[in-house]
């Protein structure tokens, strides 16, 4: 008996190692490589940076760390501005996605079968075509002689074509469109778990639909709102393709700055430093949010 139990715990331990190994191989090691490059010095060579560790005469290990890359990021206001802009654009797009996604998830969660399955399928369906193609389609829709302007002009809503492509608005549209399923699915999950009898109780006690939404539905689906918003916000900060295709020249996002450092300046160390800083810009607020959440739950229990 005891042997079997021990085998079982061993197996459990082994299973718990899988995510750890996964994180180690696919996150920690690449992170350390990038960290290492961010502390080296750029040069014209293959690869284009100097090694940090060097054995001198076979016995002396020389370690050279260049913190100048990080100082450079602080020195030039461009990088700070790009971080702030990225967060601002990602936040705006997340709010827009939430405002569109919540009613959608609500409708799906309250729909009857088989309509519900069909609606869910429709949300996921766009994933079956290439992401790049779908962003290209938005170029055709939003451009000056595009579908949207053509439609609005023929309806007489506007007389001059609207300039949407190559502005921040086009970037919001692109992000909201692309990440909408990531918002809808967690919201749907928490909305479908919602106990309907609570709403009936609220109604019996004289709450208007709006009040019962604000005091019952919204607080109970808050975990879905947080999960969906994070799934949109975090990748949107580092987004490169959407601002590159739909954004204007003055759309300054950290992904573009990183591209510039890596490709145009061939400065892999600075590019790596930008990436490491980005990680902290994203992880910092997330850890804060996580702690707030834990404290909140503790207070509740």
């Amino acid at each position: 008996m005891r042997v079997v139990r021990r085998l079982n715990t061993l197996r459990r331990d082994w299973l718990s190692w899988i995510p750890t190994v996964w994180l180690g191989v696919f996150f920690l090691i690449p992170f350390l490589v990038v960290l290492k490059i961010s502390l080296s010095e750029a040069t014209i060579a293959m690869p284009p940076y100097l090694p940090i560790f060097e054995w001198i005469e076979g016995s002396l290990l020389e370690i050279r760390l260049d913190f100048g890359n990080y100082l450079f990021l602080i020195d030039d206001p461009l990088y700070g501005a790009a971080y702030v802009e990225s967060v601002r654009i990602a936040l705006t797009a997340t709010i827009i996605t939430l405002l569109i996604g919540y009613p959608m998830a609500y409708v799906i969660a309250t729909a009857r079968e088989p309509r519900r399955t069909l609606l869910l399928l429709l949300v996921i369906l766009p994933f079956w075509t290439s992401f790049l193609l779908r962003v290209y389609a938005w170029i055709a829709i939003l451009k000056t002689n595009g579908l949207l302007n053509g439609l609005l002009m023929s309806l007489g809503v506007i007389s001059e074509p609207l300039v949407i492509l190559q502005t921040d608005v086009a970037v919001y549209i692109g992000i909201a469109y692309t990440y909408l399923p990531f918002m809808v699915l967690p919201l749907y999950a928490s909305l479908s778990k919602l106990d309907r009898t609570l709403l009936e109780a609220a109604e019996d006690l004289g709450a208007t639909p709006w009040i019962s939404f604000l005091t019952v539905t919204l607080p109970l689906t808050l975990p879905g709102v947080v999960a969906g918003s994070l799934l949109v916000f975090v990748p949107a900060i580092g987004e490169f393709v959407i601002p590159a295709l739909l954004g204007g020249n003055d759309t300054l996002m950290i992904g573009k700055v990183l591209w510039n450092e890596f490709f145009a300046n061939r400065d892999w160390p600075i590019a790596s430093a930008v990436a490491i800083m980005m990680l902290f810009v994203i992880v910092g607020p997330l850890m804060w949010l996580n702690r707030m959440n834990a404290q909140h739950e503790e207070a509740n229990s």
């Binding site: 750029a42 014209i44 060579a45 293959m46 690869p47 284009p48 030039d76 206001p77 461009l78 501005a81 790009a82 451009k143 000056t144 002689n145 190559q166 204007g248 020249n249 003055d250 759309t251 300054l252 700055v257 510039n260 890596f262 490709f263 145009a264 300046n265 061939r266 400065d267």
Partner: protein, 358 residues
């Protein structure tokens, strides 16, 4: 007898594996439709053909090492720096019998990038100028100085075209060099003061520019979405032809400005760690064949540097001043050199400031 057969089979197998594959990495839309098929038919070597659309992308792959490519086609000023980084192997001239076809004058010019032409052979060359929608410009400004950089660099002129759309090539080296040249400054200088003057010039017209992009302007100009674009000669000429084919009333004209402009050379070279060196030489030699070079030029509208092929190129192409400029226009062209890393950083930072105002 049977031993002889085995021996023969081994020989065939051996030669088949030697004539294996060659991995080419070239610019997009930059080769005739039948070139690869003809090469495969002639040599029995299988070609893996892959494309890129910016020098920066190619360079990142080369600097990372083990790219797996056997022939790559960087532009001169990029190749110059890549040679310093030790990216390329020297060409074995004994395997390049068609070298005699090459234009001696052009090969001498590209020696500034690759001394003694040790690592590279010219694939195609072109210029960085601008193209415009004749009707749209005529409507807005009948006396527009259509053969001068003033079209782009003078605020009171370019502002007239703001409503129909002005695009500029996303390439700090080309555009800042053109701006410096227009101001009468040396495009090759690394002076911070010269760069500042070029920045001020571009800032004065910045508000009238709709976008900066490496290739978007090809379609937009042909469709009439924009009316003035600074870009690469062959791309703008392709745009002109697409508009003509579409028959949509858009008429495009390409100009090498009278003040002169940037000329660039794309060069074929073999990475030092290329897996199929012999096949790579065969491919480069094949491209230097007069007929093959002429076929490519007829298709892509870029001039080759193959003197023997000129008589095989369509008269319509050789007589086009945008592709084969006259000696007078040629005299005003200048090639760019590789800048120091320090200057590249300042220049790209300036470019970001021009584009974003940050």
């Amino acid at each position: 007898m049977s031993r002889f057969l085995v021996f023969a089979l081994l020989l065939i197998a051996g030669s088949a594996s030697a004539q294996g594959v060659v991995n080419i990495y070239n610019w997009s839309d930059y080769i005739a439709e039948d070139t690869i098929a003809k090469f495969e038919e002639k040599t029995g070597i299988k070609v893996n053909y892959d494309v890129f659309d910016t020098n920066e992308l190619l360079e990142a792959k080369l600097l990372a090492g083990s790219s797996g490519y056997d022939v790559v086609v960087p532009t001169g000023n990029f190749l110059e720096r890549q040679i310093q980084a030790g990216v390329f192997r020297k060409l074995d001239r004994s395997k390049l019998s068609n070298l005699a076809n090459m234009d001696a004058d052009i090969m001498r010019i590209v020696e500034q990038h690759d001394p003694a032409n040790a690592h590279s052979v010219v694939y195609m060359w072109g210029t960085t100028g601008f193209a415009y929608n004749t009707k749209a410009i005529q409507e807005r400004m009948p006396e527009a100085p259509v053969s001068s950089w003033a079209m782009v660099f003078e605020p009171e002129i370019v502002s007239q075209f703001e409503d129909c759309g002005v695009a500029i090539l996303e390439s700090p080296t080309d555009i800042l060099a053109s701006a410096k040249h227009y101001l009468g400054l040396d495009p090759a200088s690394e002076s911070a003061d010269d760069l500042k003057q070029a920045e001020d010039l571009l800032m004065s017209v910045r508000q009238y520019i709709r976008y900066f992009h490496p290739s978007q302007y090809i379609n937009d100009l042909a469709n009439g979405d924009i009316c003035l674009a600074v870009g690469y000669s062959g791309d703008l000429l392709q745009s002109r032809d697409r508009a003509a084919e579409a028959n949509n009333g858009v008429e495009i004209e390409y100009v090498i400005p009278e003040e002169g402009g940037v000329v660039w050379f794309d060069l074929m070279a073999i990475p030092a760690d290329a897996p199929n060196v012999d096949e790579a030489h065969q491919f480069i030699n094949f491209i230097m064949d007069a007929q093959i070079a002429a076929d490519i030029t007829n298709y892509v509208f870029y001039a080759n540097a193959n003197a023997a092929s000129t008589e095989l190129v369509d008269a319509e192409v050789t007589s086009d001043q945008g592709i084969y400029p006259s000696d007078e226009v040629k005299a005003g062209l200048f090639a760019m050199k590789a800048f120091s890393s320090r200057y590249d950083r300042i220049m790209n930072r300036t470019w970001t400031r021009i584009k974003t105002g940050q």
